[in-house]
Symmetry: C2
Subunit: 130 residues, 2 copies
């Protein structure tokens, strides 16, 4: 299939596929007239990349998965290098999540404090007025 069809099947754009190719992630064969040609394996590679991208992985982080698939493994994460990326990502996610939770707590506390100091007077959140 050609680039437009692959893009449509993956729900992305031709620009994205050319970008992946420029990064060496998704090289394409060429027909006589210079058009890019892809097969079903490429669909799987692209799906793998897109899935990880949706998870927030950097493009570079998808490379081990792609190479794993290309080397014949049934799944992109059937290789140690892919698992290493998973683990690193989990660590990053945990750090980010806890940081965001801390920020959330701070902002929430600030809001509560500021609301209590408003000219409209503190508005009680529950019925502890008695």
């Amino acid at each position: 299939m050609r680039i437009g069809e692959l893009a449509a099947r993956a729900g992305t754009t031709t620009r994205t596929l050319r970008y992946y190719e420029s990064r060496g992630l998704l090289p394409a064969r060429r027909t006589g007239n210079g058009y890019r040609t892809y097969d079903e394996d490429d669909v799987r590679l692209l799906e793998q990349i897109r899935t990880l991208q949706d998870f927030g992985f950097d493009l570079e982080e998808t490379r081990p998965f792609v190479e794993c698939l290309r080397s014949g493994h049934p799944e992109g994460d059937s290789c140690p290098a892919s698992l290493a990326v998973y683990r690193r990502k989990l660590t990053e996610l945990d750090a980010l999540i806890s940081e965001l939770n801390a920020v959330r707590a701070q902002v929430g506390a600030q809001l509560t404090r500021a609301e209590a100091a408003l000219p409209g007077g503190p508005e009680p959140r529950c019925e502890l007025t008695g």
Copy 2:
């Protein structure tokens, strides 16, 4: 004080202060020779901006806080517009955090599944081998 001293006191750079000025957030008076001049009020404005930036607020989102301070309020969040930003931010944070938690769960599940399928054989996480 001049721009270098203010930057140092806020733990930031002169470039940052000029950037804030270009955005209309932190305008500066000028001395005869064209140097920017700041006072203690500007220190407070800058601290407010920096605090919110550290929380991950966009520069534009700090504007209500700055204007609140500049209009004479003791705190940047003593104004309704600031509270609205707080609330919006909390909503954003909650959405982001829950999204990240979902991703974390997915990645964790993928890791567990992939580990169990490795050629090295599934490595039990706890002692349920008996």
